[in-house]
Amino acid sequence: MKILYFAWLRERLDRGEEIVDPPASVRSVSDLIAWLRARDPAAELAMAKPEIIKAAIDARIVSHDTPIAGARVIAFFPPMTGG
């Protein structure tokens, strides 16, 4: 699956997207965040407060307990500042 990062999350990770293949034990968005943090020191720091990070699966905003099975694109981003 493809992961997208935006705003300061993208900057701190020094990448806007990546392709990942997490194991089957990674079931939910919050499992995915924990897995991403465990594999990369930059992600460990950038996602140190998962509660402030928002997520979208296939361009729909989801809560962190949402299953990721079948997801093509998962995006992570800070609170939005539009308008």
Binding site: A59, R60, I61, P78, T81
Partner: protein
Amino acid sequence: MGVRIQEAAFDPGAELNAFSELSEGAGAVVTFTGLVRSDPGDPVSALMLECYPELALNQIGAIVAEARVRFGLLDETVIHRYGTLQPGEPIVQVMTLAPHREAAFAGAEFLMDYLKTDAPFWKKEATAQGKRWVEHRDADDKAKDRWR
């Protein structure tokens, strides 16, 4: 109904005129235009606006559809820019069309309150002190929550 996410500048007056031309039978048009703000004490030289376009279209489309039903709007348009903007440039425009002014005003305010917190854009300001991400404001959450 129209939702446009674009890098290009737009002409607020021309947009309003084009929108109003479709207003047969309506009694009120409200337009809100947001401008890139610069604090005189700490001037902003540029605003970089990052966007997730697919999610923006989904989010704004859903908000617009809700506004239409909730306020009985006849038509509505949201234009939101991304990319690098200069102070004073139009960044966002919301237009609502309704039989009467109450619905047109309320619909425009509702749309703007939701855009602030639910549209996937992220602002970064360049100032003499360097570049900084604009922080999400709790006041924006409160503004949105009053519509619940």
